[in-house]
């Protein structure tokens, strides 16, 4: 074990000394879950960044220097995220694209803020991240509260419902989403049932029986796909045939598999738009899929985040953190996702959420706010 540690120390020392010699290169940190059960997300993420970096390098880099992406694995572990963040800062990263999970981005943002370098996360949606008052923290994805709002608008304006039930899984994400949704619908809609369930539980018949008694027209669930799948399945078993609605944590093929295609039919889910349907993303999708595999849900966000970071460095004409952060706040960027501008907090000014539905066992985009 000791030998292994020593070996990895030597190797990392060599890597970093190797980097430091190339002083004509600009280093961009990349942090996300590259191994473990979320490795797929990490790979989607890394591929999007690699594509952007290669495009810039083929055009001669930024400020006449080549761009190097320093990829680090945070294993979606908050502790690991902090150590990775320190590593990237010490390696001299000019800015960081990452992290993936909100639970990692939040503690890591402390480190980047202290070092004075900007971070842009392509995927962390927890509102807290940009509420800490750090000027250098940005995200190109939406926020859970914006997501709840879009869901609420859909239920009020499109479905025109009067009575609904809201449940959540008591986690930061799930309850946060359900509460935001509730906040926006409660003026117009009667919430006849509101309660939490236990994440990891398999039996929701009791809750669903209580819900059935109240005769709502829709069930909104804040949580992720295993519970969502079971809820839909068991609701149908109880003869509760009302639509089900949830957020981006549920948009996973496993959801349909667990619930069964027939039971899941007509479920509404708030999620970012289908990249394949965005006109400005056409070239990106083609290039990405030619080089790697099918694009993942967050590949395009990683790609745009990288382009935004590099454009800001180019405009600032320096890698100085303060100058780059200033540019990030003032500029408007045109990327694969369309026009992106950050507000004072570092959030995107236009929330990119739409409503998807399930049809014949597949997810498809359904409604735009």
């Amino acid at each position: 074990m000791e030998k292994l540690i020593l070996f990895s120390l030597v190797v990392s020392a060599l890597i970093f000394s190797g980097c430091q010699k190339k002083e004509d290169a600009i280093k961009i940190g990349v942090a996300g879950p590259m191994t473990g059960d979320q490795a797929k997300m990490g790979t989607d993420f890394k591929n999007g960044i690699t594509l952007a970096v290669e495009e810039w390098n083929s055009k001669g880099g930024v400020l006449g220097k080549k761009i190097i992406a320093l990829v680090e694995d945070d294993q979606h572990d908050p502790k690991q995220a902090v150590s990775v963040a320190n590593k990237l800062v010490n390696a001299g990263a000019a800015g960081v694209i990452g992290h993936f999970n909100s639970s990692c981005s939040i503690p890591a943002s402390d480190v980047y803020n202290r070092a004075g370098i900007p971070m842009i996360t392509p995927a962390s949606t927890n509102p807290q991240l940009t509420e800490k008052g750090y000027s250098g923290v940005f995200r190109v994805c939406g926020r859970d509260d914006q997501q709840g709002k879009v869901g609420a608008e859909f239920v009020i304006n499109n479905l025109k419902l009067k009575k609904i039930a809201v449940i959540h899984d008591k986690t930061t994400y799930g309850q946060g989403l359900a509460d935001e949704f509730k906040k926006f619908v409660k003026k117009n809609i009667d919430i006849v049932y509101y309660s939490g369930i236990i994440q990891g539980d398999k039996d929701f018949k009791t809750v669903l029986t209580s819900i059935k008694e109240k005769k709502p027209e829709l069930i909104y669930f804040g949580g992720i796909y295993p519970e969502a799948g079971l809820l839909v399945k068991q609701a149908r078993e109880l003869g509760l045939d009302i639509p089900f609605m949830s957020g981006d944590g549920t948009i996973d093929p496993k959801f349909i598999e667990i619930a069964g295609a027939k039971a899941a039919e007509g479920t509404y889910l708030t999620f970012s738009p289908d990249a394949k349907k965005i006109s400005t993303a056409k070239k990106f999708v083609e290039d990405y899929e030619k080089k790697f595999e099918e694009i993942g849900p967050y590949s395009i966000y990683a790609y745009d985040a990288t382009n935004i970071m590099l454009s800001a460095i180019k405009e600032a004409a320096t890698t100085n953190g303060k100058a780059v952060i200033e540019k990030l706040h003032s500029m408007e960027f045109g990327g694969a996702l369309g026009k992106i501008k950050f507000d004072k907090k570092g959030d995107v000014t236009v929330a990119p959420y739409v409503v998807w539905t399930t049809k014949d066992g597949k997810f498809e985009e359904f409604w735009k706010p």
């Binding site: 059960d37 008591k170 309660s195 939490g196 369930i197 236990i198 990891g200 539980d201 398999k202 039996d203 018949k205 009791t206 809750v207 029986t209 209580s210 059935k212 008694e213 295993p226 799948g229 079971l230 399945k233 068991q234 149908r236 078993e237 109880l238 003869g239 496993k254 598999e257 667990i258 069964g260 027939k262 039971a263």
Partner: protein, 300 residues
């Protein structure tokens, strides 16, 4: 709706009772809390998915679904029973005369081993059980019962009746009760203790396998860690009924299912897991041996 909640509760309770029987039988005979018992339940669920998947691949499921299901039940019960048998021989038998804590720690070790073994060979993500009896059921006065629920309630009842007859009426049952009372005396009158203990593990594991498979069919979702919480709940049920007592385990399981279901329905669903344990604490404070437990006389 009250009756609907009762049916929900009895379904879950029946499953708890089947698992609790394995805990209580082993405790009755060895005074060992077999912490690996929940993992046998989990293995039963996984084996069900694997065996049914195999039958689907060879075309038996489309030929005759009932036949495929019966064979799946029989095979996974046999597999799990042999797991139970092997675990006893490997992890508990060598420690039979060791201090009481040693087999307990060995049991925890087996539990961790089995969880990781399944995680590494089957993956850490949720496995979906094939939708065999999709949402089918009937409705009376707005109360909906699915065939799977009916099947779980009926199967649990039949198995418990069989077990009761086995324990009270057969020679092996008598031998088990004798060993539970006094191991040394039982061996003096010519009972082969090893056989009795093996039989206990085989029966307990078989019941857990049936419970696991029924749950997999009912919920349609299985992962490597389901044995832990199910094991804890079933253990609670066994203690509630009086550990070592077979009618106690049956009653404790059903009671636990009902308490969970009714309290989640009429108080709050957020603390569903807590109610079961609150009831446990109250029962233990009032009657430390559990509802059906006999106070333990010191053997001289």
């Amino acid at each position: 709706m009250f009756i609907q909640q009762l049916i929900n509760g009895i379904t879950v309770g029946g499953v708890y009772a089947l698992i609790a029987l394995g805990y209580t039988m082993v405790y009755g005979i060895l005074e060992l809390i077999n912490f690996a018992h929940g993992e046998i339940y989990m293995l039963g669920a996984y084996l069900g998915i694997i065996i049914l998947g195999f039958f689907t691949a060879v075309g038996l499921t489309s030929y005759s679904l009932p036949l495929a299901l019966i064979l799946t039940f029989v095979l996974s019960t046999i597999f799990c029973a042999s797991y139970g048998f092997t675990i006893e021989k490997v992890a508990y038998k060598p420690l039979r005369n060791a201090p009481r804590l040693s087999p307990l720690i060995s049991a925890i070790g087996v539990s961790i081993f089995l969880q990781n073994y399944v995680m590494l060979t089957q993956g850490a993500t949720d496995k979906v059980f094939p939708h065999v009896l999709e949402n089918e059921g009937f409705e009376i006065n707005g109360i909906r019962v699915t065939y799977i629920q009916l099947f779980i309630i009926a199967a649990s009842a039949v198995l418990m009746i069989f077990l009761h007859i086995f324990i009270t009426r057969t020679r092996m049952g008598k031998a088990m009760r004798a060993v539970a009372q006094d191991k040394v005396m039982a061996s003096l009158v010519g009972i082969n203790i090893d056989t009795v203990i093996s039989m206990t593990f085989v029966i307990g594991s078989g019941l857990a396998a049936v419970a696991g498979l029924m749950v997999a069919m009912y919920y349609g979702l299985v992962n490597y860690s389901i044995g832990y919480i199910a094991g804890i709940k079933a253990f609670t049920a066994a203690v509630l009924g009086g550990i070592g007592s077979i009618p106690g385990a049956m009653f404790g399981g059903i009671l636990l299912g009902l308490v969970e279901s009714l309290s989640a329905a009429y108080i709050s669903s957020e603390y569903k897991d807590a109610y079961a344990f609150i009831i446990l604490i109250i029962v233990l404070l009032i009657k430390p041996t559990g509802l059906f437990g006999k106070s333990h006389e010191e053997k001289v």
